[in-house]
Symmetry: D2
Subunit: 442 residues, 4 copies
């Protein structure tokens, strides 16, 4: 079967999707630094007829987490310009407000449907092996140490194709379509700031999806629930240096405080009501062998099976860090650099999706649950916001074969998932107005 | 040579000293519990013609440290009565105010000379081996788990004999003699309270001594300096119990706080200007395997080559305990149960002592310095008080062979040290008025 | 309805059950010390016509865990004799082999049915409040600090009544009945040794039950699954003492090793596949403030949602203890004092039980799952043994109101559960032969 | 007074010394990287008529400690060439064998006199403040992050001037002069390898000195004793990474091992017989927040008042690191990167020096002891070697005002010390043969 888009068939669109995906892959940009990526997306959406809101209109300043240094922001903005960013839109993102929201109204009344795609790459050095598909095909990342190793390049490609499809079928569709391109999903840093900017306030039905996650090509999961809540934070300890041989008593040892904190952070009694994890993933402290260490910094994350359990872990962690600093008369600060909640896909929406995908030829199987846990995701902020407002939300998985696991230097998708993604969204969007009538979507 | 005491020669006095010493040894009493001991000493001093101040007149209530429980106080008071304590004086000591100060004035004007003897035994189970001298001679401690394993029994015996000597030679001596029998030297708990009660306020010349300490029989050290300052304290942590399997998150783990405190207490950077030590000698915490530990208690001591260094260690220790409690949201308290300062024997007094001992037949050698460190002593409170008031103070060592080291279950002195002690004090007291004239005592 | 037992109706039996339960409660005995309890049970079973195996015939010597000291064993055996134990059987249990297995054959062929009851009390001081039911009714524990605070007194009472019922209905029942009275369930110490002695080898159908566990009176759970696997162990550290002030370098500090072990035990990364817990519930170490601590001992438990997860935790714990000892050049030993596995009740047996209980008048509700986790249980050893041999096993809960939670000093059951227990077993045993035919029991 | 060097007076030599010192300062090179410095020194010594041994002839390969990476060695060698190194000698030092020993024989028989000067700079970023003397006078270090902040530039300048003086006065002097220019004193890494190469084997009298160290300009210390023994080492922990959210149980956490090591390293009971210190000055471990840390590395030093005490600390430290690694099943390695012993200046040589300096006009005061501890020094290896062979050795201090403390970014000497250094050595060398005759040097 071949969905016909007015001026272009899905079959014709697939090569374009591949081109888009490979271009994003080649010019990979980490979170809050998606200058080139976002400017091109804005440009496309404008060409497709969408009205746009961008930059600090859709990114709430105070709610951003884990923003890079001004130097890094400037460096990536400059690179973006040098590598073909759209100058007009680039200005809107200056300082790292790299969000894009495109809205278009169909010809028929209906709900407001928000669809979210994430745009950022990871700080991973991509493999340069000849047998790595992006190397073979000339689109390996040219950004040293940055790589789309989680499939967000595919997400954006699907997003643009869905946008194109919607714009060509306004008379056949109902309602208003709000396409949300989110920065900084990695480290769960970006979604909160788009929610805080009000982007989700009027959305009735919310859809998002992830490729891969251990699901086979041809299989789609209609909606998942098993997110772990998480808090990502840095702790900094600032003491006082002194000469370790001659004047140790004059120092205040930040590294001893940090080491004591680490052991005790890992010792937090785990919650009796569900999984709870903590990890201090990185620590650096001190300046030299014969100096009492003046400063130390650590990167930490807590996780919980529920938002409450994660909050328990984070609350205890803050207390331990405070106590460890107190032990050595050390100043400290804790900076939250990422946060995600637990959430659940709406049962009614999942049922509708399952039915909608029944006729899509390249979708063999629709599962109700993910076979593997997805970990943490900040789309949960958006899902929870829509559900709290009385709307429906679902987080789907689009199965695909993977060359290597997520976050691996040889990660690669099967590009066949691009067509599956597009046709799945088309299947779902057709008739979605039935859901908002309070009916059961059947 | 035989010193002639009016009614009794030194030679005749020695067998009595041995009797006294063995009686004290047999009825050993720990610090603040010297009910029988102190009551007998008070009785003797009264018989010798001393005017007495006892109990809370010479022990300042608030300055006592490490006082046993009311139950233990009552138990030992009852035992004392049952084992021949003097009832009249016993009442004065009720509640653990077991200090005795006897004063007598000679016929000639002169300085006020304070001489201090300590009375308490240790919580050590004495050996029951047949070859242990006190077993062989029938004066092994009948108080189970309590033993004079540091020689204070000998100190008191010398003290009584010196008291007797003084009382018989009032016309030959000059000045006023204040014999101070101090409780609770072990754990450095008692001297501070006698200083706080004003006992040392009028003393011009202060003398005290210790038997043993690695010095040979026949050798006397004229005065020592190398005391370590020390603080003895207990720390208690009080958290909240909960079931470890089902509700670990409801507990506040006092044992984790204590364990973290221990490691960090031992990690205090040592002072650059001299020896500094810390030891957590004991910890007990928790109630059972499947319960989050609700409480924990530890026994700690800090030491420093100077009072300042010890104060540095104790200040850091308090901070660490506070921080460790904070880590686990735990209440805590710190109780000081003993304290001693550094001090130095007065050079002028040492010189005088050396000269005075030159003619004593049983003293072969007089050293200026101790060959081994003596550790900590709370007589330093008394020494410092006298020196600050412009007086002179010295802490002597009376050498003796030991059957085993101090605090050992087979500790025993050579009783020949009793005569050496008595005759040394006699030698020093004769002519001591030369010192107070501001002269050089020569 | 009134079940008629040949010589005695259930109605008549209930007052006897209450008498039994209160007698066991009053003479509460901890694990491996159930001398009086087990001797009376053996006596009753013999009277009821059972053939008996006892002592080391049913308790495998090497597989016992957490056995008390010889002194305690002797003390409790003596007490048992003084308080009315059956002398003949008492001898069989000497040394703490306090297991009893009674077997009786019905008149009709059928499977071998094992039913297990646990006998031990807890080291908990029972409340002496007047409003505590056992105080009001004169059966509060006369064993100081020992209490049936988990309902095993009720278990045994039900067990004896079931034994009596079976013995009176041999012609109506089918198969062979093996009543297993197990010592030392608390601390999960006893079941393994009965399995190792072969007691379960020929059992086709295994039943056991617990009163309370948060289930209401009148409700029965047909079989539960959510046991946590657990290992209970003690770790001992043996170093070398030395004087902390003078010779710290000569010591090997067992308390520092233990404190380091505690922090790191709690720091074991929790398993990603399910709940995992660890608790160091108790630590004592060191002898005195001024001595480098020579020894330390701790009580620990690990738990896991699966047996594998618990084994992971225990394996890591052993490694950490070894490393901590190595740090301070300390000898150590680890003694396992209790162990339990995960297990699942057989679905077919649960279905049969649910159906069987449908007509029991005092059972209002039968649940398929427990509303609360039961924690750890060593009956799982027996269940697993039977299931591995191709048999069926189920662990039921008999709901009852509780005066206070399990292991609380005011714990008390509603004695109405005794009749519910008896009639539930009667209902299940009638017709149980249908299960062993490989049929579905319906 | 003005010492007359044959062709050049001391007065004329001083400006040249200043030029040398400033040139070395500007082209500061860290330990084992003194390519330019050593090549120029070799060139000068050759010009002065010394016969030279250099490179691996005077640096024992296996005994070098803390050698930089091959990349850094190559980088500095290249820089040296670009900045005017002497090409002929540069080759001899390739790979970091940057030692130079120049020997010259006087006209009269006498002892072999070794004089040692150290050449390396520190990894400290020099101040760029206008009021910093080297900035004002245009000789601030052009090597970014490398600075002569300990005065070794002055040492070398004095060394060259002494060499020049000796070469001009061969007929007036007695004995053989061996000028030893040592690399890598900072971190106490270099001296051991020169001793191991046999450089000190034939030396009868050994002299070395340090500028500054809290001693005033015009004051010289004739020889010091209070060195701390020290061991500098790195510890590396290698575990296994895994995803902290999903598969924590598959990781082996190197950072937990390192943190546990740090706390326990600082907890080593300090030695009872003298000062003992330990410091973990730097730790880095882990790669990212959500990864179980795979590796960690720390920089550590121990110090002791005696070589034995330091060895005690290092032995305990190794045990703790081994145990910490064992705890988490981690591989580890310990690399010693520096080592120094305690030593004492020879009394007879000190007395001779004091007398020799009596007539030097710019030396106001000669002290027998240093007012402040000097910390650790690897010249002790050389001193001990000479003394063990029956020779004499002394370590002098040449006082000077300092702009800021040693190792401070604004450290600077008063260049007047250069003349004091030269004339002091001249004073000492004249008549030094009297010492070797076994006489008392008077």
């Amino acid at each position: 079967m071949n969905y016909r888009i007015k001026d272009i068939s899905v079959e014709d669109l697939v090569p374009i999707m591949i081109k888009w995906r490979r271009d994003f892959h080649k010019h990979a940009e980490p979170g809050w630094l998606e200058f080139r990526t976002a400017s091109l997306i804005a440009d496309y959406l404008e060409q497709f007829g969408y009205s746009l809101r961008t930059g600090s209109d859709v990114i709430h300043h105070e709610s951003r987490m884990g923003v890079p240094t001004p130097e890094l922001l400037a460096e990536y903005e400059a690179k973006a310009l040098a590598e073909g960013a759209n100058e007009k839109w680039l200005k809107r993102f200056s300082g790292g407000y790299t969000g894009v929201v495109g809205t278009i109204q169909s010809k028929r009344p209906g709900p407001i449907i928000g669809i979210r795609f994430d745009m950022d790459a990871l700080n991973i050095k991509e493999s340069s092996d000849k047998d790595h598909f992006p190397v073979e095909n000339g689109f390996v990342s040219i950004r040293k140490g940055v790589m789309h190793a989680c499939g967000h390049d595919a997400h954006m490609s699907i997003g643009l194709a869905v946008a194109k499809y919607i714009s060509e079928h306004l008379d056949e569709l109902a309602g208003t379509y709000k396409l949300i391109f989110q920065p900084a999903e990695e480290g769960v840093r970006g979604a909160k700031s788009m929610v805080a900017a009000g982007v989700l306030d009027d959305v009735d039905i919310f859809l998002t999806s992830h490729v891969g996650i251990g699901v086979e090509l041809g299989t789609v999961v209609s909606g998942i629930d098993n997110f772990l809540a998480t808090t990502k934070f840095n702790a900094r300890f600032l003491g006082k240096a002194s000469h370790a041989g001659g004047r140790p008593e004059e120092g205040r040892n930040a590294l001893l405080a940090a080491s004591s904190a680490i052991l005790n952070l890992h010792s937090i009694p785990r919650h009796g009501k569900g999984q709870s994890q903590i990890n201090v993933g990185k620590l650096c402290g001190g300046s030299g062998r014969n100096i009492i260490p003046q400063s130390a910094e650590m990167e930490v994350e807590t996780r919980g099976e529920t938002t409450d359990i994660n909050e328990y872990m984070f609350r205890k962690a803050k207390m331990i860090i405070k106590g460890a600093a107190q032990m050595y008369d050390i100043d400290y600060e804790i900076e939250i650099v990422g946060e995600a909640k637990t959430s659940s896909s709406s049962e009614r929406l999942k049922t509708y999706i399952k039915k909608s995908l029944g006729d899509i030829p390249c979708v063999d199987t629709v599962l109700d649950e993910a076979p593997y846990p997805i970990g943490s995701e900040d789309a949960t902020y958006m899902m929870n916001q829509v559900i709290e407002n009385g709307g429906l939300a679902s987080y789907m998985i689009l199965g695909t074969a993977l060359a290597a696991g997520h976050h691996h230097e040889k990660f690669d998708i099967d590009e066949a998932v691009l067509e599956i993604g597009l046709t799945s969204y088309i299947g779902i969007l057709k008739g979605i107005e039935s859901l908002s009538a309070g009916g059961d979507g059947q």
